[in-house]
């Protein structure tokens, strides 16, 4: 049996308090209606009438006015509580008798179905319940069957329990401030293990880690794939603490883990092998610690004609999968960049073509030349460029790409064909 409380007058918070007094499991049907299970209350309070009176007594103490209904199906109880004043107790088998006099308009359904029922001559719920169930389903489909079951209190469904938002945080005030990372990591480890266990019990994983070490230190880690292993999180925290050591002694440690649904993948026998996501995250963190945060990632070309325009994707997942390709494709000559471009001294022929090149690590006469190709762009931004490019071959066999900046009239070696 289920109890439905419909708020008529008073505050919604008081209605929730009232429901919570009798059961921790409640379903919020709408803003002013809640459902609670009656099982358990029968042993505590007594009959359904005693339960209803106890609830009304408590409602009076809280200063709220409610309509109350008790029925075997939660939706039947809700239908009665919405439309019948005061207390309604519907014993199993008496649903049609009690709800029957209500007009058809109280049914929670579409206007088309109500219109059809009225054209059939049904005016009350009792008229609708009297119709043959098979004929109703044939003409109105599953919705017709559902509405008849609702009036007759047939079937059941579990309550959709409303849970308060979980708090995946933890905080520890230290007796003595700590300055070295190892004991800090030990404290964070216990907190992370506890929170991850709670997350896992709710079927969740971690997407972000936030550690606030008071005063003046913060650790933010975003995981490209959801993580459920505390050791993976702690490894990244350890690497972060090694790179960014706290500048002063830490008095309070607060940890927050952001929940996310866990990752689901479909494995295949013929899928090329790839690093485990957890191992890959640790590897990337170690590489960032070694070479710098902006030095590791998957390159992505930018949508521009600007030379050397790319960015490193940090949240890289490295999706694998075979691509249909021509295995015998022609080999393309590759290019190596000098970053930054090398300043060069270039001698010019009377025909305005490069004749001799001198730059750091290279010197020689130009024996072959192609160009110039003028490229300009992004004149509206700070990234504006305007230059003439040349491909040159030196007498030692090396092939370089030179360019002359229009603005400064200076020459640079952009890179080498290799």
């Amino acid at each position: 049996m289920f109890v439905c409380l419909q708020l008529q007058r008073g505050a919604v918070d008081d209605l929730l308090t009232l429901a919570d007094t009798f059961s921790p499991h409640l379903e919020r049907c709408d803003e002013r209606t809640v459902l609670i299970p009656a099982y358990g209350l029968e042993r505590l309070i007594g009959t359904h009438t005693d339960i209803a009176e106890a609830i009304l007594r408590r409602a009076g103490e809280l200063g709220v006015e409610i309509w109350l209904a008790i029925a075997g199906h939660p939706d039947t109880a809700m239908l009665a509580a919405h439309n019948i004043e005061g207390i309604t107790i519907i014993d199993p088998g008496r649903e049609v008798e009690i709800l029957g006099p209500l007009p058809l308009e109280v049914l929670p359904t579409t206007f088309d179905i109500l219109d059809t029922l009225q054209r059939w001559g049904a005016e009350t719920l009792a008229d609708f319940a009297a119709l043959p169930p098979l004929g109703v389903i044939e003409r109105l489909g599953d919705e017709g069957g559902r509405l008849q079951a609702l009036i007759e209190g047939r079937g059941t469904r579990p309550l959709r329990i409303a849970r308060p938002p979980e708090d995946y945080t933890a905080q520890v005030h230290l007796d003595e401030p700590l300055s070295s990372s190892e004991p800090l990591l030990f404290i964070i480890s216990g907190m992370v293990h506890d929170i991850v266990k709670r997350l896992a019990s709710h079927g969740l994983a971690v997407s972000h880690f936030l550690g606030v070490l008071t005063p003046l230190h913060e650790i933010r880690i975003a995981f490209p794939v959801p993580v459920q292993e505390p050791m993976v999180i702690l490894k990244q925290v350890q690497i972060d603490l090694e790179i960014h050591k706290p500048k002063c002694a830490i008095a309070t440690v607060a940890v927050e883990l952001q929940p996310t649904p866990p990752r689901t993948t479909q494995h295949g026998l013929f899928t090329p092998s790839a690093p485990e996501p957890a191992q890959l995250q640790t590897l990337l963190a170690r590489l960032r610690a070694l070479t710098g945060a902006d030095s590791v990632g998957s390159p992505e070309l930018l949508n521009t004609h600007r030379p050397d325009a790319w960015r490193l994707r940090q949240d890289v997942l490295f999706e694998t999968g075979r691509v249909v390709t021509n295995a015998n494709a022609a080999v393309r000559l590759s290019f190596r960049c000098f970053r930054p471009p090398l300043a060069a001294r270039v001698s010019i022929t009377p025909q305005h073509r490069p004749a001799r090149l001198e730059a750091r690590g290279m010197k020689g006469s130009v024996v072959a030349v192609a160009g110039p190709w003028r490229t300009t762009g992004e004149w509206w931004a700070e990234t504006e460029w305007a230059r003439d490019e040349w491909d040159v071959g030196l007498d030692d066999g090396a092939l370089y790409r030179l360019y002359r900046e229009h603005r400064t009239n200076e020459w640079f070696v952009e890179g080498v064909y290799d």
């Binding site: 690093p275 295995a327 080999v331 192609a370 064909y417």
Partner: protein, 213 residues
């Protein structure tokens, strides 16, 4: 009763165990080298414009096209993503580590990636790094890299100006004497001359044409 002692001549004539190769070499090179050996180091050396980058980018293009994950440890920060994409490298399957001319970081990054595992083709680009610093690297480092990749299905390509790995490399390719084609006023392509120095019994040379992009 005689003991089963194998004759010295039998040992000398014993064929080396067949090793698996990844067919990631360019088509014109397959006569000389059918593929890069798995679980071993292939060293590619040559001067500027000899085609070292072209060879390893062709390998990256073939491997990423087959759905494999690859990594490039870029010692001199010279990797050009647009050139690689034009050569057929699927950038979304490539991990790029920029080591900004630091030899020690470059070797450490390679060691981390090889120990992490899961990457089919790893390129260690040592071209343009100071030769004097590279020559100071103890041979044990190269052997450590060899042991890291051994007994895995991974391939390690090391690109450099001069051969340095000696016994640590299973295959040594040397590039020299490339010939650029300038029909009219355009760089059309380069003929790369590749010499297989190691293994000695397969030594030979081949020429392949790399078209300018």
């Amino acid at each position: 009763m005689s003991l089963p002692v194998r004759k010295l001549i039998d040992l000398a004539l014993r064929k080396p165990a067949a090793s698996a190769v990844c067919p990631f070499t360019p088509k014109d090179l397959r006569g000389l080298l059918p593929g890069f050996p798995e679980g071993a180091i292939t060293e590619i050396s040559g001067v500027r414009s000899s085609g070292r980058t072209t060879i390893f980018q062709a390998g990256l293009a073939a491997a990423t096209a087959a759905g494999e994950l690859c990594a490039i440890i870029d010692g001199s920060d010279a990797f050009d993503p647009s050139s690689a994409a034009a050569a057929g490298v699927r950038l979304e399957r490539l991990l790029w580590v920029r080591c900004r001319h630091d030899v020690q970081d470059t070797l450490k990054a390679a060691d981390l990636i090889l120990h992490g595992g899961g990457f089919r083709l790893v390129v260690l680009d040592l071209c343009d790094l100071p030769l004097i610093e590279l020559q100071r690297v103890p041979p044990s480092w190269w052997h450590r890299l060899r042991l890291s990749v051994e007994n895995t299905t991974g391939v390690l390509l090391v690109a450099s100006t001069t051969p340095m790995l000696r016994q640590a490399a299973a295959v040594q390719l040397e590039l020299s004497g490339s010939q650029a084609h300038w029909p009219g006023t355009l760089l059309n392509g380069v003929d790369l001359r590749v010499q297989l120095r190691k293994p000695v019994q397969s030594a030979g040379s081949a020429t392949l044409r790399a078209r300018a992009i």
